[in-house]
């Protein structure tokens, strides 16, 4: 049994060490806001925070999480920057299908946590690991700038 700290709650799970965090969150704990997109850390749909850093949960072995804090899309709105980002997303009507947006919001929140007023180049660096096939990039950029102004 392993104990995972996810969104401030402790969960006991009986899973192999090499099992990616994504599937523990989705299939074992039933939190489906974090999405599966590619399984090889190419698309960013599975992005969560581990100790405040945006990581791809599809390749993150759950056995390496000892003592670390995980935050997912379900709880990121409880953080100041997460709330700002979610609001900016709605104000700018960023979302289309919405499938990638959990990951986009997690990456954008981690960016604001690191850099309060990101430049376009900062946004490119932080967000280019997150694919959106609906093509919402123009609005994602605007929304991050808008959130940074709050």
């Amino acid at each position: 049994m392993k104990t995972l700290n996810i969104n401030g709650q402790f969960h006991q799970v009986d899973v192999p060490d090499d099992m990616p965090l994504l599937w523990v969150i989705r299939d074992v704990l039933g939190m489906t806001g974090t999405k599966f997109g590619c399984g090889i850390a190419q698309c960013g749909a599975c992005t969560v925070h581990v100790d405040g850093e945006a990581v791809r949960s599809c390749l993150y072995p759950v056995g390496t999480l000892d003592g670390k804090r995980v935050v997912t899309i379900e709880a990121v709105g409880g953080t100041p920057n997460g709330a700002k980002i979610q609001k900016a997303w709605l104000d700018r009507e960023v979302v289309q299908c919405g499938y990638c947006q959990s990951g986009q919001i997690m990456s954008a929140t981690a960016l604001l946590d690191r850099i309060a007023k990101p430049t376009d180049a900062d946004i490119d660096d932080a967000m280019s690991g997150n694919i959106c096939r609906c093509g919402t990039y123009v609005r994602i950029r605007d929304a991050i700038h808008a959130a940074a102004e709050v």
């Binding site: 990616p20 090889i40 979302v95 919405g98 499938y99 947006q101 946004i123 096939r133």
Partner: protein, 720 residues
Amino acid sequence: MPILNLEAPSRRFVLKASALAGGGLLLSMRLPSLARADGPTDSAAFMPNAFVKIDAAGTVTLIAPHTEVGQGIETAQAMLIGDELDVGLDQIQVQPAPPDIKKYADPLLGDQATGGSTSIRSDWTRLRQAGATARAMLVAVAAKRWAVDPQTCRVERGVIHHDPSNRSLGYGDVAADAATLPVPTDVKLKEAAEFKLIGTSAKRLDTPFKVNGSAVFGIDAKVPGMKFGTLALVPVVGGKLLGMNEAAARKVSGVRDVVRVGDEAVAVIGDHMWAAKQGLEALAPTWSAERHGGVTLQTIVAEMDKASRTQGVIAKKEGDAEASIAKAATKLSAIYELPFLSHSPMEPLNCTLHIQADKAEIWVGTQVPVRAQKAVADAAGLSPDKVTVNNLYMGGAFGRRLDIDSVAIAAKIAAQLQYPVKLVWTREEDLRHDYYRPYYYDRVSAGLDAEGRIVGWTHRVTGSSIMARWAPSAFKNGLDSDAVEGAADTPYEVPATLVDYVRHEPAGVNTGWWRGVGPTHNVFVTESFVDEIASAAGKDAVAYRRSMLGKNPRALAVLNLAAEKSGWGTALPPRCGRGVSVQFAFGSYVSCVIEVEVSTAGEILLRRATVAIDCGLTVNPDTVVAQIEGGLILGLSTAMYNQITLSAGAIDQSNFHDYRAMRINEAPKIAVHQIRNAEKPGGVGETGTAAAAPALGNAIFAATGQRLRKLPFAPGLKGA
């Protein structure tokens, strides 16, 4: 896809064929009724037609005939019905329609389907009628109770007011009585000036749930007792399963079952996706290639080249184009090629099912719920009415979920299990088992007079017919109207035109609808070739197009607007260029100008995109802008990078590392300008995608002098 001339599934949807041409809307269609016993209803609710339900609490439910794939259609449908009902958007709950072709068929597609940018064109009248009819009945009850003329009542946010006597009643107060009234058939709809919701950039209803992880997509379905499975499909179409190591798979911790579906697929089911994935790896199925083992992209294209030399079925013939070209002062001809494309929506294919002896239930995001229901019924040996379909949000589709191959295979797997199962495709299986956008091989030629004007134009399309498979009754006399859409109906005035179609099915490749359908293919060919012609005539690309649009004022207006807003004709830095495209597709006019820089290394840098659109009456202007932005990015991304290729009969690409998707750092600035008018509503969702490739190719030509006639562009582009 074009509007289909199918056998109407119900007499209620019988429409004059002439009303369908050119995206025309249908008037005075009778609304299908929803009998209380057979629909999503409860006994106390008022449900005057199949689309609207109002309960005693006054809650308005829209039974939405079109499903949400990200295009904002839930909200748009709610705006149509809510405006006529005089309720706020926040007062409407949206419920996807259950499979019922008689009640929920898209009248322009003849099927219960969401696609072809037809939703608003289909719903514009019928959903407003549904709302207005309900309102009239509810007001009639209140007016009768008060013994006043209904005309002296007004409705605001679902409350009926009689101002002279200062009385009011909520919709919920009168719903039960309204349900006893006969349904009127001649209710007057609002004039455009009376709209309160329609035409506003109302906030989408689905987005609050999509920023906090609570929206439920197909892949998020949860069913008590369900297990998780993943599958491997036969890599080469027609191949056979040679062997697999079932014992090894069952040794993997958490694996519960191994399921085989003939030579089509094997699946491993476990306690979670990780167990299933590990189990499938251990299972290590091996397959034969059979008759398609020698297929490569090159063999397919060689066959298409051969087919393209034969006479096609005529799609359009005006004048004698071949004779006009033969005597022309200047002759031009070219071959344009477009690759197979995968849809690759962000949400991989998936389906959750519980198949029992006497009934089945599925949870899936589908563009075609009736087809999905039938696929499960067939696999389970049940009649369709025993299959419940829960249609959930789709994480993109782009046409992929207009096919039900994945639902069918999932059902064949689930039918072998005694418990509910969620089957999820890995990205690799999703990408390698698509119904791909067909490869097209198009021959075009034109003759110009001494002044550079076109005197004759020919366009022969060679490619797969999706229509012949997907809607066989719409494939008539060998002509696929989708394959030539955008070729047989360019916006230009040309004295002699010949467009024909050679059907050629690629060996070992399944083909399907892809965002922008016919126009995404043909607008690229025609708008690139017009650009070639303008250049050969020594004319400016915009001025040359203008000279052929004298009788097409709406096309001319979008071209002029895009040219003006893009700064067409103003100086650019070295290695930069602008390209333009104009189109009439899905009932909407679009012009696009792309500005690019091509680096000395041959990289395409997208500087800026300017789009002008006239889609007539607009339900939600912000959604129109969003669809153009996103559609354009998908189109640009695809035009730059994407192609599906084959080796030894199998698909070469597997994931986003070798099937590249544009990322935020590559996306251009996009400005969308709308011409607002009172013309019939046009479709929007696919227009941006169709505009992207021709404008980009023309911009690359302007920047470099290289005319790229084969998509994708990146591999063919030379640096300094």
